[in-house]
């Protein structure tokens, strides 16, 4: 029993953090709200140079051969910097899916960063970034299809988060587009959902940590009544609650990653716990961060809303807290697994 990440995993996280600190500044996140593709120009190639998109692909396919444990740390960093890139869709979902269905050519081009993937799993009404993706992976009745961007029709639906370009997709399945079907398809889809949920949960933890840090800085600097507002207990208690929520949700996310990496029989249950707790925690932190910023946090020119809106988007995406708790509930009550671990 040892609940700690090994130094090698932390080193990968640190290299991604260093890149994002330099390249994914709040100013660039803000620019992504109004540019053509909602992304940071050039960043994907730099992430690909570090091996991030293909971190879960085997080394003989050009990947890093890593597991969900490293993935979750990288995802947390991407959340911390509110990175507007299709990292969940690619690194956490498409790459292991293509790996597991042995779609070698596609895996290779996604891993190298040459092709960008968007996802249309059946539970989500929207496909993020469909317009500028090369390939869209669409799910229908337990089948997963790889469809070329040029063969589909799109209808844009603006997100509250300007960097998330949402689309309804009209497409035609065919024998040629089908990657996996039947029982195997169902399993692949379930694993895709679990990985996506855990990856997004980690992003929510990162987003929450960043909002808390920003707010702590703000309340130390902002003076009213002749002292920092952070010296008032009402403010302290809001932020203490924010920290507690993050500290309790984060280990649940890490455990889910561990269970996915080991193919644990309870990985789906653990993934749902992770998404439910991370969504609730991040929403709470967003709320406290806004309140403790006061009016300046409500101003569009302040960067806080870039983080908040990502939280609102992601806490609803990939199954919201209520739907994941319902899944945990089914696990607890219908499959009598109250034993937990």
């Amino acid at each position: 029993m040892r609940f700690a990440f090994p130094p090698e995993s932390l080193a990968i996280r640190d290299s991604v953090r260093a890149l994002l600190l330099r390249e994914c500044t709040p100013g660039r996140v803000r620019e992504a709200w109004s540019n053509a593709d909602g992304r940071v120009p050039g960043l994907w190639a730099q992430l690909a140079a570090l091996g991030v998109p293909g971190m879960l692909a085997p080394e003989e396919r050009g990947g890093l051969g890593l597991t969900e444990l490293e993935l979750v740390l990288v995802m947390e960093e991407s959340g911390r910097f509110a990175m507007p890139e299709p990292i969940v869709e690619t690194a956490a979902v498409a790459v292991p899916l293509l790996r597991d269905v042995d779609a070698r050519d596609l895996l290779q081009s996604v891993t190298s960063g040459a092709k960008v993937v968007a996802l249309g799993l059946a539970e989500s009404p929207f496909v993020v970034g469909a317009e500028t993706a090369d390939i869209v992976l669409m799910e229908q009745a337990g089948e997963v299809h790889a469809v070329e961007r040029r063969t589909i029709r799109l209808e844009a639906h603006p997100s509250i988060d300007g960097s998330r370009r949402l689309f309804h997709v009209k497409w035609q399945p065919s024998r040629e587009t089908c990657l996996v079907y039947a029982e195997r398809g169902k399993r692949v889809v379930r694993e895709a959902r679990d990985r996506g949920a855990v990856a997004v949960a980690a992003q929510l933890i990162g987003l929450a940590r960043a909002m808390l840090a920003t707010t702590v800085d703000y309340v130390k600097a902002r003076h009213q009544f002749g002292k920092p507002v952070g010296s008032f207990q009402a403010v302290k208690h809001h932020l203490a609650d924010a920290l507690i929520a993050i500290e309790m949700a984060a280990p649940v996310v890490y455990r889910a990653a561990y269970s996915l990496a080991r193919g644990d029989a309870q990985a789906s249950l653990h993934a749902s716990m992770a998404k439910a707790m991370a969504s609730d925690a991040a929403e709470l932190v967003a709320r406290q961060a806004l309140q403790c910023h006061g009016a300046i946090g409500y101003a569009f020119e302040n960067d806080l809303h870039l983080w908040m809106k990502r939280v609102w988007a992601l806490s609803a995406a990939w199954g919201d807290a209520t739907s994941h708790r319902a899944r945990v509930s089914r696990g607890l009550f219908e499959e009598s697994q109250a034993g937990g671990m």
Binding site: L69, L212, A249, Y254, S329, G339
Partner: protein, 381 residues
């Protein structure tokens, strides 16, 4: 990252489980916060000690098993899942003992710890006073030097001493230097409650049990050998106890994991009798997830400690979380029980009342949130 148990850890768990299954009383003991219940619980503590389950993490010489932190957590899980009695020895073994291991002289350790482990001496805590609660440094009880006798004379009043009416000894802070700055000039004493000059008055708790006591001291003599740590240095000695109380040792996750499982069982039982509102089912799931989260958080803390780290102010995160989780968990049970929640002997109702003490004792949650904000987030005082 390895979340599996080693064969040795598994074996330890199974040994604990087997012993508990064979020995936990079939019928729950009466509350340990009454005179009759206290005697029965002392008997239970002695049985734990004889089987070397009383203080599993302690050295063998004192009756322990030198269990690792992970093994200790496993023991706690098994203990609460088995529905074993409340630990009336806990204030001694979880609060005083860590301080004794850290600050005690070899003579003190050898004199106090074996009797504590064997439940020969049961310990009460003497922190709060009528005018020193959250503001603990406002302690007014005095310790006056008695050079001739080689010791100190204690006078004053200690309040809210848990099971103080039944315990044998009390550990507490007294003001030994009346002119020093508040946090200085305090000394940590071990006080025999049967000594001349000690008057103990039982005080009823919310649930009606005499679980509290006021302890009045009138010129009570305590020899030098019962000073723990340095004279006038009691504040820093006491703070090591405070962080064990808030943190790992007092509230291991086992107790909440067991309570959450019982809550799931209760919900299932109620659903067999009448429809349960989905909102209540959701609250049950939340409580179960919170207990799991606390368990995982604790493993993470254990890994930090095993890696040479320490917990200080982090203990306040534990304390706020477990105490408020415990209240939510019991509130959920009360709602599931409906009209039956009113019954005074309903265990969930008794548990609910007890849970309400959690956000108050061991430093109120308002104080804990200040600690979190100031010492973990770095906000100004």
């Amino acid at each position: 990252m390895d979340l599996t148990y080693s064969p040795a850890e598994e074996a330890f768990r199974l040994e604990a489980r087997a012993w508990l299954q064979a020995n936990v009383p079939r019928e729950p003991l009466p509350s340990g916060d009454t005179a009759e219940g206290f005697a029965l619980h002392r008997h239970w503590e002695k049985r734990l000690f004889e089987a070397r389950w009383a203080v599993v993490s302690w050295p063998r010489a004192y009756g322990g098993r030198e269990a690792s932190l992970v093994e200790w957590l496993l023991f706690e899980e098994e203990y609460y899942l088995a529905g074993a009695p409340q630990r009336i020895a806990q204030n001694g073994i979880f609060l005083l003992a860590p301080t004794l291991f850290h600050f005690g002289t070899p003579e003190q350790q050898q004199r106090v710890l074996p009797r504590m482990a064997a439940a020969e001496d049961l310990w009460a805590q003497g922190w709060s006073e009528p005018n020193a609660g959250s503001d603990l440094a406002g302690i007014q009880s005095r310790a006056v030097r008695d050079e001739a006798e080689g010791g100190w004379r204690l006078s004053g009043q200690k309040a809210w001493c848990t099971r103080g009416a039944f315990c044998d000894w009390m550990f507490g802070l007294f003001r030994s230097d009346p002119v020093a700055e508040r946090h200085r000039g305090l000394t940590y004493f071990l006080v025999p409650l049967r000594a001349q000059g000690v008057t103990v008055r039982p005080v009823g708790r919310l649930d009606g049990d005499a679980g509290f006591a006021d302890v009045f001291l009138d010129d009570v003599f305590v020899p030098d050998r019962d000073v723990l740590g340095k004279v006038h240095d009691g504040w820093s000695v006491a703070m090591t106890t405070a962080s064990s109380e808030r943190g790992l040792t007092l509230r291991s996750p086992g107790r909440f994991v067991a309570a959450a499982r019982r809550l799931v069982d209760l919900c299932r039982r109620e659903e067999g009798r009448h429809p349960v509102d989905p909102v209540q089912r959701d609250a049950v799931v939340r409580a179960w997830m919170d207990a799991e989260a606390y368990r995982l958080f604790t493993w993470q803390t254990v890994a930090k400690l095993d890696g040479g780290g320490s917990i200080g102010a982090e203990a306040s995160v534990n304390k706020v979380f477990w105490s408020e989780m415990d209240v939510r968990l019991h509130e959920t049970a009360m709602r599931l029980l409906g009209a039956h929640a009113e019954l005074g002997e309903e265990p969930w109702t008794r548990g609910f009342q007890f849970s309400l003490a959690g956000p108050i004792y061991a430093g109120t949650n308002e104080i804990q949130r200040n600690v979190i904000a100031e010492r973990l987030l770095g906000l100004p005082r």
